[in-house]
Amino acid sequence: MKKTIALLLLLAITFSCNEDMDDNTTLSASVNFKFTHNWNNTPINSANLDTETVTNANGEVINMIRFRYLTSKFKLTNTAGDTYSFDGFKFTDLAQDDSYNFIPDINGIPSGTYTLSFIWGFNEEDNIDGAYPTLNSASWNWPEMLGGGYHFLQFDGMYNVDTPNPSPFNFHNGTARVTDGLFEQNFATIVLDTPIIITNEATIEVKMNIAELFTNPNTWDLNVLDTPLMPNYDAQKMMQENILSVFSIGEITQ
């Protein structure tokens, strides 16, 4: 009997709390990010990554084999200009579905209208050689001779697969080497203008159109730039430009 009363009391308290929060406009909503990937609207995921045949803007027919990338410093900014930053980084491996979502540790923002920005790769402050055990364990390091730190992207595949002579490409992005011993940061700040209205616990879909890596502003000719690209300064800088149009906001579920 005593227990029942206690339970009832607890229930009552919980409910009243909930009500309180509902009235409250500065409700703390937790946000998660869900990345989806496509090639000009064809969804790409672990099931079809290595079976889908795609064509890039320059007309090369491509098979994808491996696609891994790094993003960090997720930040939501509301209409009043307040920013909410999320710790941690997101390492995505297209072959692994469980890497598509990013659930930040410290979470909870007021409801409101936001825009999202994040860093492609690591900025200079974060791109510390060997500093992240999870990334080291995934062999995600960028060679010291090229400035060290980590890869931002590893995209491996074959092109001209519609000809008798398919060739490999290794589209890898990271710090740019100007000359021996002189390096230039190569991350990009992705700012997505689409307003995101958050009223409750929300999952923000971030869409990545892989085809855009080869499209805009630089139409990529794999016949000229297939491999090695890591030590190629111009190729690295073209990747940094092309990455800006790869991401967009998708659905917000809450």
């Binding site: 060997g130 999870t134 080291n136 062999s139 060679p143 490999p168 490409f169 290794n170 297939d226």
Partner: protein
Amino acid sequence: MKNWLTYSLLFITLISCSSEENSEENAYVPIPFQLEIPPLFEEKLIDPIIPVTNKLTVEGVALGKRLFFDNILSVNNTKACASCHSPQHAFADPSQFSVGVTNIEGTRNSMPLFNLAWNFDDRYFWDGHALGLENQALEPVVDANELGNDSWQPIEAKLNNHPEYPQLFKQAFGSSTITKTLVTKAIAQFERTLISGNSKFDKFSNGEVALTPQEQNGLDVFMDETRGDCFHCHGNPNNPLWTDNKFHNNGLDATFSDLGFGLVTGNPNDNGKFKSPSLRNLAYTAPFMHDGRFATLDQVIEHYSTGLQASSTIDPLMKKVAQGGVNLSEQDKADLKAFLLTLSDPSFLNNQAFLPE
């Protein structure tokens, strides 16, 4: 006051419970085993995988070691795990194909055993078909060409009738009824203690020794996308495992007599893929590749330099396949070899903890 009474009662109950247990003979509590993780691994890598269902204990590890070296696990008491996984060869086998109780050769080269707790995907064998070390250890005992038993039942019976094993299992696992599950748990515990992290290169990473100019150039060849480009699959100074433990086709064959990973996943795009081996301890683990086709490191380096074979599943990282390979200069080949040999760890071979008593 009332509370105080309740707590004291509770306390007394707890004390009496535990003292009761202690007085019971079968409540021997095994001593937790502390893995000696090299500081470099601690700093650079995520934690080793130790299943919660099989925590390491001093008794479990010692029992696993005894079983690993004991011929009792074979059908005719002639072979042990160690017959094909010899400590002097970093727990690999110098023969291209190992022979078990039948003296018939298998089709794959034995694999060295070290740093297995850092195989994060927990897939074992060249083709990754066993999930977890405990499951892996179930197989050799009943493999016709290895330890040759028809089933585990006669092995369990032999062990249960042994003068010492039942007591050792009781100490390690609290049960003197020996089952294949407990046998494989003990062996897996021992295998997880086989850590190799004391090579010349480890000492270089720790700032204790310098590399020779040849070894340094060899490292550069290894890390240079325009030369060796080995690091995308075989680790790097920040990944001291020297493997990614993933499955790749490194261009050994144009057609496959062994489908490897493809046989396991059923995906034809995985045909001809095998697990990247660690490049640690190459000085002791010849011959090389899943079928032991290369007797020397020079042959391996020549393979990557000029011997690549195109196929539909060749890894795109084998980017110079159209030219036969990365075409290293004689100097770079020699230096690459010198660097690779800095990854060998003589102290691993002589570690008393890994040798039979």
